[in-house]
């Protein structure tokens, strides 16, 4: 046990409504590359945040380098020798590389900053990484791969004993990935431990020594990479057959209800596709590839050029009002930010978009309003003690249902769900899936944007994969597989990042 650099035992973290981690165990040896695998929402990020001191655990113990730690702050973690490279980098984009890597530990000359010394030191750090880079360059001028190198340089300067990399490969192309792997092997040789988080199993087999699998916040198993295989890992990660647990849509696809032609904006390049009646169309891609931008454009929330046809008629959608008028509705990705008024009642939230249907000359007919709300509360089984309950007191699943109810009251035919089950617990997820299925049975059409591949594969009749603002694949239900989607979602090109 002495060669364990890190031991986390029985780590438990409970957020309102969700048990993010349930007695999770993990240990990392010195000089080991330890992969962490799990579906989205399995609890990887929470575990990492606890390790980094950004989130405090509710239970469990952490032993690092032989010392037991109670509560500690992110700053303490850095002092201890733990560096975390998050997916969303922790860099100040308007400042230079040198300023960023020396942030909080600036070299001084008396009371003044010693910039020359810092620039020299920065160059020394970058040299063994094998990259030519001017430390005076602003972060905003760097591509993602270089920004990641800056994060790694920070970790080196901290003399980290443990570097955690959260999906470091998500935005890298093959060549950049090779450089990253070279670096990781170099760290390993120097005795630094790495926790490597990735969705891509091939990478795990290429770089990791051991792998720990989490599922639904629980520890599943730890395996030596040399003694396991892909199929076994997938089984451990998913814990069930991929398609099981999703209601089947056996409706025949009908006529086209939505047609998008040549849709382009700052994030999207020439997107064209069709959506049919009774169909659930999935849209997926790596984070920030343009999925959300696409549906927001269709809903009129973001500007675009291109043509949109609803039920064969060309429409001009310039704002959400327009989209709603044409029967399109949108359940946003960030429910609490963009979807619901937390301080307002269930009734207020559910009727806000459809008030004009039950008002006379601007005056609201309260009876009709209550009847409508009642109808949809019953129809989609929203659990709330009363209509006047503030939305923030509902669970995530019920909040999502309130937003859905709001759109059903508008009689929308095309419903766009953006990450519909993010942060929602398993039982409520199932209910949302069933609801979606019922809706297509009633003749509605659904677009589901999801980065949870099992969900996407389970729910979609057809799916579009987006990479870098372009559609890279259109897959039918029987073709959908995690591997194919991932390869299409991180397609070849090294062009930009």
């Amino acid at each position: 046990m002495k060669d364990n650099l890190l031991e986390m035992k029985g780590i438990t973290k409970i957020y309102p409504g969700v048990v993010a981690l349930d007695k999770m165990d993990i240990s990392v040896k010195r000089g080991e590359v330890h992969a962490l695998l799990g579906e989205n929402g399995a609890g990887k990020s929470t575990l990492i945040k606890i390790l980094a001191g950004a989130v405090q655990r509710d239970e469990g113990e952490i032993l690092f380098d032989g010392i037991s730690y109670d509560q500690y702050s992110p700053n303490d973690a850095i002092q201890m020798g733990i560096s975390v490279i998050y997916q969303e980098f922790n860099l100040v984009s308007k400042m230079s590389i040198e300023e960023n890597i020396f942030f909080g530990k600036e070299h001084r000359n008396g009371i003044f900053l010693d910039r020359n010394a810092m620039i020299k030191k920065a160059r020394e750090v970058f040299k063994p990484l094998g990259v030519e880079i001017d430390p005076r360059e602003k972060i905003s001028n760097l591509n993602v791969a270089y920004q990641q190198l800056v994060e790694i340089a920070k970790a080196i300067l901290n003399r980290s004993k443990l570097i955690v990399m959260d999906e470091p490969s998500a935005a890298l192309c093959t060549r950049e990935l090779e450089i990253l792997f070279k670096l990781i092997r170099q760290f390993k040789g120097e005795g630094t431990s790495i926790i490597y988080i990735s969705h891509r199993l091939e990478e795990v087999f290429e770089i990791a020594d051991r792998v720990t699998v989490l599922r639904d916040g629980k520890y599943v198993d730890t395996k030596l990479v040399s003694e396991t295989n892909k199929d076994e890992l997938i089984k451990l990660m998913v814990g069930r057959k991929l398609t099981g647990g999703y209601p089947q849509n056996n409706q025949k696809r009908d006529k086209v209800v939505l047609k998008v032609k040549g849709l382009t904006n700052h994030k999207l390049k020439n997107i064209s596709f069709e959506l049919r009646r009774n169909e659930i169309l999935g849209i997926t891609g790596l984070i920030g590839s343009g999925q959300t931008d696409l549906v927001r454009a269709i809903f009129g929330a973001d500007p675009y050029i291109g043509e949109i046809f609803v039920k064969g008629k060309k429409v001009d959608i310039r704002s959400p009002q327009d989209a709603i008028r044409y029967g399109i509705s949108y359940l946003p990705e960030d429910r609490k930010q963009d979807g619901i008024l937390l301080e307002m009642s269930v009734r207020f939230n559910m009727s806000i978009a459809s008030l004009k249907y039950y008002s006379h000359r601007g005056f609201i007919d309260k009876d009709k309003e209550n009847k409508t709300v009642q109808k949809y509360v019953d129809a989609i089984r929203i659990k709330t003690p009363s209509f006047e309950q503030k939305s923030k007191n509902l669970s995530g699943g019920n909040q999502q249902k309130v937003i859905l109810g709001k759109w059903l009251a508008c009689a929308s035919d095309i419903i766009i769900f953006d990450e519909p089950t993010r942060g929602i617990d398993v039982g409520a997820k199932q209910e949302i899936y069933t609801l979606m299925n019922n809706l297509v049975h009633e003749g509605k059409s659904i677009i589901i944007v999801s980065s949870e591949l099992p969900e996407l594969i389970g729910m979609s009749d057809r799916a579009l994969v987006i990479y870098n603002g372009k559609i890279t694949a259109e897959l039918e239900k029987q073709e959908l597989s995690q591997e194919l989607i991932l390869s299409k979602a991180s397609t070849e090109g090294c062009e930009t990042a």
Partner: protein, 341 residues
């Protein structure tokens, strides 16, 4: 359980309670305070900024603010006065058209409504924060008023019947009070019974949710500043009639009283929360507080100190109760979850 209920009751009726309490205190010190004449006098005093407070409530509810109200009331007043005056104050100044008071009043209200629209335009089209826009306009408009009058009051040429608006009364109740109550009632109906009112609350609650719910948030944002400007115009005209002279410094510092009254009445400075009924009591409290302080012979300087302190206290209570609410609801949520939703 009992505690939460108490908090809820206080939130709902607390302001009325404070009102009664303050009345009681002043009556104890100055029995004359409760005299009907004095009470009517207080009502008359508060009607002017009370009307403005209705417009301010709309702005605050959307998450904005209108600090230009004091100057805007002054502008409507002066525009009306300048046109109604029998002759220009000095040869190089405009006005003195001896115009019919009704047309003068309409002109004054139009101008201040226009200022409201302009505020809305700067906020919507150039994206300057409302606080800055209206703070800037507060200064600009007062400057315009001074330029128009050469900083001199306008006395001459007002028709006698024009005085009715500000000085007359119907039965025992002064006309400004009636106008104030009517505007309060209309404002209450608009905020509580109409689709538009819902949209105002929704915009203040979360602008992005409002936009994604298909609400034309730009239109709503324009409208509240237009409403505020319009009500400033009405106030300006009544105030002119009351003073019976075009005072260039009229209504100075109204923004202070008005914002304080609104926040005292429970309107959240963050937007989306607040009731016009509360504002009504907020306005009354401001009125009795200063009437009482004057009766107790407190100098104007001390009144200023108290005015500022009341504003800070009201806002402080608002933010504190918000923080407490957040904590409470977090607890409630985890409790609900533990008991399996």
């Amino acid at each position: 359980m009992k505690k939460i209920n108490f908090g809820y009751l206080f939130k709902k009726y607390g302001i009325a309670l404070v009102f009664v309490l303050i009345c009681a205190i002043f009556t104890a010190f100055r029995p004359n305070f409760i005299n009907p004449n004095n009470l009517i006098e207080i009502l008359r005093q508060v009607s002017f900024y009370g009307i403005v407070a209705v417009g301010m409530t709309f702005c605050l509810l959307t998450g904005g603010i209108d600090l230009s109200v004091g100057s805007n009331v002054g502008l409507a007043l002066i525009v009306c006065a300048v046109f109604m005056a029998a002759k220009p104050i000095s040869p190089d100044l405009t006005g003195g058209t001896n115009i019919n008071p009704i047309i003068g009043a309409v002109l004054g209200i139009l101008v201040s409504t226009g200022v409201g629209f302009f505020n809305g335009a700067l906020i919507n089209e150039i994206n300057i924060p409302p606080l800055i826009v209206t703070l800037g306009m507060l200064e600009v408009i007062r400057g315009v008023v001074y330029v128009m009058t050469g900083a001199m009051p306008i006395y001459e040429g007002f028709e006698d019947y024009f005085r009715f608006l500000g000085q007359g009364s119907i039965g025992p109740i002064p006309v400004p009070v009636i106008i104030f109550l009517v505007i309060m009632a209309v404002g209450w109906i608009v905020l509580n019974k109409t689709v538009y009112g819902r949209y105002v609350y929704c915009l203040g609650g979360n602008a992005e949710v409002a936009r994604l719910s298909g609400i034309d948030i730009k239109k709503i944002r324009y409208s509240v500043y237009v409403i505020s400007g319009f009500l400033c115009g009405i106030t300006g005209i009544i105030l002119l009639s009351r003073l019976n002279s075009g005072q260039p410094r009229a209504a100075m510092g109204y923004e202070m009283e008005v914002v304080t009254a609104c926040v005292l009445g429970g309107v959240s400075i963050a937007g989306g929360e607040g009731k016009l009924m509360g504002v009504f009591f907020g306005v009354l409290i401001m009125g009795i507080l200063f009437n009482g302080l004057i009766q107790m012979n407190l100098s104007e300087f001390y009144q200023m100190i108290i005015k500022g302190a009341v504003l800070l206290m009201a806002v402080g209570l608002d933010t504190m109760s918000n923080a407490r609410k957040r904590k409470l609801s977090e607890k409630a949520i985890s409790k609900a979850k533990a008991g399996n939703v």
